[in-house]
């Protein structure tokens, strides 16, 4: 197993251990871990020793309910050292590595657009990344922001859609269809890439390729909700949940077997 895959595996184990202690947004945390690992290990310009380095690239987790995935990755990277169980269920200000409080859906893309525009106005060579959920794209404010970012040619802005096709209420296409999703982004003036969201190298390559062009870009990362925990994969019931002892054993065994 490669180093990055191992990092992702250990992050998933952290999420499982958290879910064995209390109800958390398990499925959304597990679906985005590989995307986070790709961004943090290959894309984001940052200083591991100084999470608040003023010239770092920024990551906004618009789907704030996936925060335990982010906490777990930041813990593996050594950015977060406290007990993850004590951290809030959505990103909040003041936590190392967290750039913005998020979690009310449909806010992140506007915030990230402001951050990207602010970097440009300040003459900084800084890039801003935002991860949205797919269900979250039901919120119209995303499309206000998409139109805005394209109009202002925000070339230092990259969005990644965690396209796991499940929102809390069920299949995104049955709740309120998003497809043709790539065409929607293109129609709004964005460059679009797609990749397997669990292939860390593929995600990193796709983001790197998107950064070569002009204006904002989006990667649709095809993922599986609950990835890595067999009984949770693809099951909307595990959008949020707490693992009992038997479920924890199954989850840990599945994640350990892949080592």
């Amino acid at each position: 197993m490669s180093n990055v895959d191992e990092l992702a595996r250990r992050a998933r184990l952290r999420v499982v251990e958290l879910a064995a202690r209390k109800a958390i947004h398990l499925g959304p945390a597990l679906s985005l871990i590989d995307v986070l690992v790709a961004l943090y290990t290959s894309i984001l310009r940052r200083d591991p020793a100084r999470p608040d380095w003023p010239d770092r690239d920024l990551l906004v987790l618009s789907k704030g309910h996936g925060v335990y995935g982010l906490y777990a990755v930041l813990a593996e990277l050594g950015v977060l050292t406290q007990d993850l169980n004590e951290l809030p269920g959505h990103p909040s200000d003041g936590i190392p590595g967290i750039e913005a409080a998020t979690g009310a859906l449909g806010h992140g893309l506007s915030l990230a657009s402001g951050l990207a525009l602010g970097a440009r106005l300040a003459g900084k060579d800084r890039r801003v990344y935002v991860i949205t959920g797919d269900g979250e794209l039901d919120e119209g404010s995303n499309w206000e922001a998409a139109q805005f970012a394209a109009h202002h040619r925000l070339g230092n802005l990259v969005a990644v859609v965690d396209r796991n096709r499940l929102q809390q209420e069920g299949d995104t296409e049955e709740v309120c269809a998003l497809e043709p999703l790539a065409d929607k982004w293109r129609a709004f003036g964005w460059r679009v890439g797609e990749s397997d969201g669990h292939d860390i190298t593929a995600v990193a390559d796709a983001v790197t390729a998107l950064e070569a062009g002009d204006g904002p870009a989006v990667l649709i990362a095809h993922t599986t909700k609950g990835r890595g925990v067999p009984f949770a994969e693809g099951d909307p019931a595990w959008h949020m949940g707490e693992l009992d002892a038997a479920q924890r054993r199954i989850a840990v065994a599945a994640l350990t077997a892949t080592a």
Partner: protein, 325 residues
């Protein structure tokens, strides 16, 4: 509904627009401070001179208030100081969650200018009315809320805010030209109440457009043999409670007048500041009745916050007290 003529003591000076008065102030501020950045969602009129000066200092969000506020929050997190304008009814309601979560909870220095608060858009109807802007913004954590009385007062408030980059602020601006008030309304510090006219019988506290109404009421009351003091209150949050207590002094009655729903507004804040041992407080404010198609001035009368309503409230109270005595 009949059209009310402009009250007599304002006829000498033509009404002035807050937006016209603010445009050069905003342009000068943006020019002087590179950290300031102007944004608008259908709010360009305030920034015409910024655009003439340097179009790069104005960011147009289009007609998209939620995104306007989210972008402003991102810019503030990037170290800039956004001044964002939009029509008040859409800013305070459509972008309500972005204002609370993206701006207020982290305490970012974003100045929000709401054009056409209260009933300023008059006959355009309830879609464009914002009698709830003060109430909604007063519920926001850490939000400073201002309701200037005329164009000069709006300039005074915005100058004060731009000099003080601490935390979020909301300023209710009028949509149309307002009566020009005595200079005293605008020249002193807008953070405290300002006594515009003295009198021992009653203190009338008013905010925004109602300050002009309070002065009219005081004229009328003088003819009735009642000496009314009038003070303008531009800052509603943080409420200048101590100064209001001092101002109320020994007067037996305080009447408040605001073009605003009561919660979080001038009346309840005054009553709370004066407490149970203070003078009687009569709060005149608007309510949820569906409005007639009417000019701004006539809507003030419909909701009972115009000069005649203030005068009637004082006289009724005094008559009741006389009968009780």
């Amino acid at each position: 509904m009949t059209t009310t003529s402009i009250p007599p003591h304002h006829t000498s000076i033509p009404p002035q627009s807050m937006r016209a008065a603010l445009a050069p102030v905003l342009a000068a501020a943006v020019d002087a401070d590179p950290s300031l950045i102007a944004l608008g969602a259908d709010g360009r009129a305030l920034f015409t001179q910024v655009l003439e000066q340097d179009p790069r200092r104005y960011v147009d969000a289009g007609i998209a208030e939620a995104n306007l506020v989210g972008v402003a929050a991102g810019l503030a997190r990037a170290g800039l100081r956004p001044v964002a304008a939009a029509m008040a009814p859409f800013l305070v309601r459509r972008a309500n969650e972005q204002i609370r979560l993206d701006v207020c909870v982290p305490g970012l220095p974003v100045v929000l200018l709401g054009v056409g608060g209260g009933f300023g858009y008059g006959p355009l109807g309830p879609t464009h009315h914002a009698p709830d802007d003060i109430t909604l913004m007063s519920a926001m954590p850490g939000m400073r809320v201002y309701c200037p009385a005329d164009a000069a007062d709006a300039v005074s408030v915005v100058r004060t805010l731009l000099a003080d980059p601490s935390g979020p602020a909301y300023v209710r601006l009028s949509a149309r030209p307002d009566p020009v008030l005595p200079a005293a309304a605008s020249e002193s510090d807008p953070r405290g109440p300002r006594l515009l006219r003295d009198g021992d019988d009653v203190l009338v506290l008013a905010t925004g457009r109602c300050v002009a109404e309070a002065l009219d009421a005081a004229d009328g009351l003088a003819a009735d043999g009642v000496a009314a003091a009038v003070a303008s209150v531009t800052t509603l949050h943080p409420f200048p409670a101590t100064a209001i207590r001092e101002l109320a002094g020994r007067r037996p009655l305080v009447v408040t007048a605001a073009e605003s729903l009561a919660p979080g507004g001038l009346g309840p804040s005054t009553a709370e500041a004066l407490g149970r041992r203070g003078p009687a407080v009569i709060s005149l404010h608007t309510d949820h009745r569906y409005p007639p198609v009417a000019a701004h001035q006539d809507l003030l009368r419909f909701y009972g916050v115009d000069g005649q309503s203030i005068r009637s409230a004082v006289l009724s109270y005094r008559n009741r007290k006389t009968r009780e005595a």
